[in-house]
């Protein structure tokens, strides 16, 4: 069971959250001039590392806010939580 520290509500069980995949992926613009390959990269070709991963979570059964988490995909350790809009740093 992960214990995830929501930036608004504090530490809660993982069952209150829903994972939203890789964080900090920018939608390519302007839409009408984005190539098929760039759309595919945006939609499907994400990071899938064995190790540290920056990902989004939503506190679905709590405050319903989205935020970012850095988690190790092998140990599941979480070492950083930050709000949307804050830099990845």
């Amino acid at each position: 069971m992960l214990l995830i520290a929501c930036p608004w509500c504090g530490p809660r069980d993982e069952t209150e959250f829903v994972n939203g995949g890789e964080a900090h992926i920018d939608r390519p613009t302007p839409a009408e001039s984005v190539s098929d390959a760039d759309w595919a990269a945006y939609l499907f070709f994400h990071d899938n590392p064995r190790g540290w991963l920056a990902e989004r979570w939503v506190h679905a059964f709590g405050c319903r806010q989205w935020f970012n988490v850095e988690r190790d995909t092998v140990t599941h350790e979480i070492r950083r939580v930050w709000r949307l809009g804050e830099p990845r740093a």
Binding site: H46, N48, T73, H76
Partner: protein, 419 residues
């Protein structure tokens, strides 16, 4: 090298205390280079090597396995084999695989114990029954042996199903594939390994690929760095399941995959109580009984990216709750073991097969939680692809290019199939 297995050999060895069985495959030192190097000694890697040698005469082949063969998902899966896929491309591919499984024991001279006990997928509402009828009609048009059963028929097949008319998820009937069943997973690994070895393939265990060498000018793959040294390769086939993204990164490209933990569970052995595979996509549970008497069950993925071969308790709880809702009589059964394997999923839950952005580097990945049933056809078509450099007709729809072309084969949405 070992001779063919036969009833006569069995009797002879039984009389001499089973001490005379030769090793089923060699453990050679890696050679400096091979025509083809397959990364990953699971079912897909070993089957590919076998069909390369048998169907294409390509025998200068090595299978490199970082641990022991079958120690990945092929040795961790719940062994359900079926072909109830909705789209014509998937139906053609997976039904070819079931057909190959039907003849595999003979083909490999190794009993893979394909038990075609049938699989029942329950419907819990009028809406779901209508949906399943649509699926069944589509699959029948594709030539797959699916049929609908009503509640009485479903209960006759599986008398233990939740009998309560006031169940939270009542049972109204379902769909059945009678050719579906279970296969002994280790036998598939060992059978392909032995058959490939006998055709000259080198199976090299404890040999992890740590880097991919490419020609600085053409970019084509030229070999792999391993924990047992550099091994040259004319062509490389990738068959490492949940670790596909990791090895692709070594070759310098990304895959549209995410790796997840998928758990399975086995109970204490029971007297025979369940003679088919039963599943529910509403309760997210499927269960069968093994020859040793254990209930073998599984359910949904752990819901976030993971390379931890453990599995987390919330998913465990969900799977076991689903089992007890479907078959309340199992509530007092004790579990013996629980484990997880790392499975790689694409957005459309279909595999990613064929060419890669790197010349002479080929892809066999994206099987997710459903690639055991695909091993014979996966190996057969991947061998063709590697040998000829062109995707086999049965796997064209599953190319990496489909993501750029927005031509997804969206089985997850269409067939409600997770595994």
């Amino acid at each position: 090298m070992s001779g063919a297995y036969s009833a006569l050999q069995l009797v002879r060895n039984a009389l001499t205390g089973h001490r005379g069985w030769p090793k089923a495959w060699r453990s050679p030192q890696p050679r400096p280079a091979y025509d083809v190097v397959i990364i990953g000694g699971g079912g897909h890697g070993l089957a590919t090597a076998y069909y390369l040698a048998r169907n294409h005469g390509v025998r200068n082949v090595a299978v490199l396995e970082k641990g022991w063969i079958g120690g990945g998902n092929t040795g961790r899966n719940t062994t359900i084999v079926r072909s109830d896929y909705y789209y014509p491309e998937s139906a053609a591919f997976f039904d070819r695989s079931v057909t190959l499984y039907e003849g595999l024991s003979q083909d490999l001279n190794f009993n893979v114990m394909f038990s075609q006990r049938g699989m029942l997928t329950i419907g819990h509402s009028r809406g779901e029954m209508d949906f399943r009828r649509k699926l069944v009609n589509g699959m029948r048009l594709n030539g797959i042996d699916l049929e609908m059963v009503d509640e009485a028929q479903a209960r006759a097949m599986c008398p233990l199903l939740n009998p309560s008319p006031s169940a939270r998820y009542p049972i109204l009937g379902g769909m059945v594939q009678r050719r579906a069943g279970t296969v002994r997973h280790d036998a598939v690994v060992w059978g392909y390994a032995r058959a490939a070895d006998r055709l000259g393939v080198d199976i090299i265990q404890n040999c992890a690929v740590t880097g991919v060498r490419r020609d600085p000018v053409s970019g084509a793959v030229t070999g792999v760095e391993t924990t047992r040294g550099l091994i040259g390769a004319g062509k490389v086939g990738l068959a490492v399941a949940g670790h596909s993204s990791v090895v692709a990164a070594m070759a310098g490209f990304r895959l549209p995959l995410r790796s997840y933990a998928l758990q399975a569970f086995v109970s204490e052995p029971l007297k025979p109580v369940l003679d088919m595979v039963v599943s529910s996509s509403v309760l997210n549970i499927y269960v069968s009984q093994s020859d040793k008497g254990g209930l073998v069950l599984g359910g949904n993925l752990d819901p976030y990216a993971s390379y931890a071969q453990r599995g987390n308790p919330p998913t465990m709880e969900a799977v076991l709750s689903g089992l007890i809702e479907m078959i309340p009589a199992f509530s007092r059964v004790r579990l013996l073991r629980q484990w997880a394997g790392i499975v790689d999923y694409a957005h459309d839950s279909s595999p990613v097969l064929g060419l890669s952005p790197v010349a002479n580097f080929f892809l066999n990945c994206g099987w997710g939680g459903g690639g055991f049933k695909a091993i014979p056809a996966g190996g057969e078509t991947f061998a063709h692809t590697v040998a000829t450099g062109q995707p086999h007709p049965l796997i064209k729809a599953f190319s990496l290019d489909r993501f750029r072309d927005q031509a997804l084969v969206d089985e997850a949405a269409a067939a409600g199939i997770e595994h």
